[in-house]
Symmetry: C2
Subunit: 328 residues, 2 copies
């Protein structure tokens, strides 16, 4: 068994990825996308080599300029000699190929730089959740030795909050004049922000947005158990490169804060990440396994779907029946 | 067993909800939120009474004015004598009570109208997915006899696309001058829109946004297998009530289209809804059941989380072990 061709293939891929090979990495990421069982075996072998990268998440509504900031920061990291992995999580892009084309256009100037690995993730209509794939792909880029992994997520939904938990440092990006946007930040994702950015700060109302954010952060800190990190609020103009040095510095400071002598903060971040990754993988795998088992017995979901539509049964009873059949 | 106190309680609640009782409904929705097993039993009994309401989803970024449109439409429906259920799905609001307070402020003028039932859903850090709760709550409002159910979702993420599949008719809302927003719509959620709205149409660039959307829709229809419904694009000013009559009419037309003689479209919508509801419930219940069984045996997740953090094991192997222990 130890010399089966499958194992040899897997070992080779693992070695190649650990050595930073781009083709092997791209192939694994494709296999993760396609949810191939071989991908899981490789992920298992890569996992011991993870834990070195600094994972930085960027979240905000479409149009606030996250990609531009990520692009500018990538240039800064490359100037320092650091290697960069970029994951653009775009759940709104189901058209196959579209996401990859988007990368090429957006990140043209880094595309030929072998120190930068860019990959888009989009939901592909499978049962596999986006949060779970994001964790998997971060692990791959981490294992291949990227020093910094920048994860860009579109929107302010539940997925984005969960994806933010896959990062060590989270940058919340907004633009001036989105009053209700600030309300949304206020309502919920405030607590996940390590750094706040008001991009397109040349627009009217930038100072006001900064002020609003400052008030909200102060309010949040007053209700927070831990106030050892005061999230900075930065004004940037991504396209002109204004404020990028400050953002770069703020990200480094947050990393230093996490890895400082008192490791309580880092432990908390690591615990959240590990927990989320475990829960997401369990949820996905449980569903996939249950559906595969039914299919293997020739039971299709279509019969159940028809029963629900015809009101002959209800989804609640059907799910209970399915689980009681499969579980010990 | 048929005369146990539990059953009597459940029957009473069911009868009360079917009769439109607000307190009983509010209680059930709270129990769904708290993921109480009794809620599932009531949902089972309510399910045969569902299928009569027209479910209309509203999706778009924070700040585009979805709540105002929903508020204005509610007034129109009430003038017609129709009863309305409103679900505001706000995954960015984890603060307990915050969402409900938001309702009161936003919907003041409908709050005392017994023909309108308003409820916010926010993620509460449980394992239960928001999509699943949304389906459950739609079923409750449907069973209690609401004629129209308006479901408002924040953002353009994966959850929002899934939640959109819980509606018969989906209204995509944007505002002028969000170029990248249109890009996001282009990239993915185009195909879920039955009706497109450019709100705050008094702002500069409204006509241009309409034009962009029209081009995208035409492009989409050319690639679509079915072009029997041409999604209208409406300009509205929610706060002034401009364009509300047209939106109200467009929603009614879409319903008439779905329920027309050739029921192919409706069947497709019903199939998607039933399938999503089944998959979401299965995913949630499988996870919950697996975790409960482990807990009952005194196995905590913390041990596994520590192993992942220490790189003593990896999430992939741990999930496989957990599943092989529990499945037959």
């Amino acid at each position: 068994m130890s010399h089966s061709p499958k194992k040899t293939y897997a070992m080779t891929i693992v070695d190649l990825i650990l050595a930073g090979d781009l083709r092997a990495t791209a192939r694994l990421l494709r296999d993760i996308d396609d949810e191939l069982p071989t991908a899981r075996n490789i992920l298992k072998k890569l996992y011991p080599h993870t834990g070195k990268a600094h994972v930085v998440g960027f979240t905000g509504s479409p149009g606030v300029g996250k990609s531009t900031l990520v692009d500018q920061l990538t240039t800064r990291y490359r100037q320092e000699g650091l290697t960069v992995g970029i994951l653009a999580v775009d759940p709104t892009s189901p058209f196959s190929g579209g996401a990859i084309l988007g990368d090429r256009i957006r990140m043209q100037r880094h595309f030929l730089d072998s120190g930068v690995f860019i990959r888009s993730l989009a939901t592909r209509g499978h049962f596999g959740g986006l949060t779970r794939s994001t964790f998997d792909m971060i692990n791959v880029l981490d294992a291949m030795g990227k020093d910094v992994i920048l994860v860009e997520t579109v929107g302010v939904g539940q997925d984005e909050v969960e994806i933010a938990h896959s990062a060590h440092t989270t940058v919340l990006v907004t633009v001036p004049g989105m009053g209700d946007e600030v309300q949304a930040i206020k309502a919920g994702i405030m607590e996940i922000g390590s750094i706040f950015v008001v991009n397109k700060a040349d627009r009217e109302g930038s100072r006001g947005t900064v002020r609003e954010l400052r008030n909200l952060i102060e309010l949040g800190l007053r209700h927070s158990e831990d106030a050892s990190w005061l999230p900075p609020i930065l004004e940037t103009e991504g396209v002109k490169g204004r404020g990028i040095d400050e953002l770069h510095l703020a990200i480094r400071r947050h990393k230093e804060y996490l890895f400082a002598n008192d490791r309580g903060q880092l432990d908390e971040v690591l615990r959240k990440r590990a927990r989320n990754q475990l829960i997401e993988a369990l949820k996905d795998e449980a569903l996939k396994t249950l559906l595969q088992r039914r299919q293997a017995r020739g039971l299709s979901l279509d019969v159940l779907i028809r029963k629900i539509i015809a009101h002959e049964s209800d989804p609640y009873s059907l799910v209970q029946e399915m689980l009681s059949e499969e579980l010990q």
